[in-house]
Symmetry: C2
Amino acid sequence: MGNSLPIGVFDSGVGGLTVAKEIMSQLPNEKIIYFGDTARVPYGNKSRETVTAYSRQIVKFLLSKRVKAIVIACNTASAFALETIRHEIPVPIIGVVKPGAKTASIATRNGRIGVIGTEGTVNSGIYSEFLHEISPEIKVFGQACPLFVPLVEEGWADDLITEEIARRYLSGLLDKDIDTVVLGCTHYPLLKRVIGKVVGESVVLVNPAYESARELKRVLGEEELLNEEKEVPHHIFYVSDGAEKFREFANSILPCEIIETKDVNVKTF
Amino acid sequence: MGNSLPIGVFDSGVGGLTVAKEIMSQLPNEKIIYFGDTARVPYGNKSRETVTAYSRQIVKFLLSKRVKAIVIACNTASAFALETIRHEIPVPIIGVVKPGAKTASIATRNGRIGVIGTEGTVNSGIYSEFLHEISPEIKVFGQACPLFVPLVEEGWADDLITEEIARRYLSGLLDKDIDTVVLGCTHYPLLKRVIGKVVGESVVLVNPAYESARELKRVLGEEELLNEEKEVPHHIFYVSDGAEKFREFANSILPCEIIETKDVNVKTF
């Protein structure tokens, strides 16, 4: 059967590796085929149409690799493309937004939730939408943080400048008396320490990656697609540009050593 | 003849508008067709192959609009793609790097020049190459500043945080006793005040946009392609994504009001 087939995971670049890491931890038998669209990163400031077109090409590429399920490990692509693409393909596909919203709704005590992410994710209002489906009383406050991704990619995750920028971005949210913040971009868990310092201990930080991996496990179980083989899985990483640079960054994030990354021309899919 | 045909100008996004602005000022009779590759911005962290492929598509698009000359208003694309594409097309094409290098070689008194730009431009070593052609004794010191572009796009060009980041990036160059800095990315002229404050008055800032427009004027004169008509030219702006957002930004930079921008699918070229 298809249980030994891999799981396709994709992101605009390296951010989705935080999701891949959670999947490796919660589903240690599963093989991952990761695609990072490094030739067209970032997605956060691009339009719904463009992000959907890019996501569709990547999904076709992953299907050509015979994946049994797909995880959109990118908040912007989850916000813009998931609902459209779900109806076009024969395998289960999940995003990071819905699981993230669910966790936040459980974590909040006062019903006031901050959502931080790219411009695309925040302006789409998708977290509000899911949170209001769960509970119409929840108040959601969004804040785009466009500099967070380049700061992470510059390697300044633990830096006083990053803390200062975080303070600027987050002070408005803190004024709204939120008690929970959704890290609505897959890069942001890498800034957890700095963000946590700025918002203070009383505010819960929600990392949708964790809950997405749980949701994946649930869906695979339901569809009887879990891999029961006990061998150590061989993950494969594809990018659309700069394989070597990606490999270095990935090896600083993942628990396993990536031996090889492959360049692929996704535009032909 | 072709003298009334437009000039094609392209960049990965909005940065090239600083070059378009110089062309409008020095060649007020010339029509510009501008293309900003906003669907795939930024180019600075992408590979030579990818940047060349993207540039080739855009050049084909501009040629389909019957331009009489092309300006690559992007340092990364000038560094990676200009020499290859020059041999493939029937019209003159100029970049921003060679004119920038020439100005810097004239401006320096002690022969020690700093070059700041994207990772792609700085690591390509292209400014050193041109500067050493002019004078092998010149010492060139490069510094990539990956956060400058997102800072400009965030609207924080005049900000204490930007000044702090500039100080971090530029202190190494100042230690090398440089007396000239090339603003080797078309976004950077928008940070001129902050960069000038950090490097001090004794260091000359070279903006390649100015010299590129002069070079264009020279080439058009040589080829007898200058437009002598005195009517006010009608410029047209194309982007690969987010026309409205581009228009707003462009109107904050350019001396003329952009009434309309058009979305175009450059990938089909």
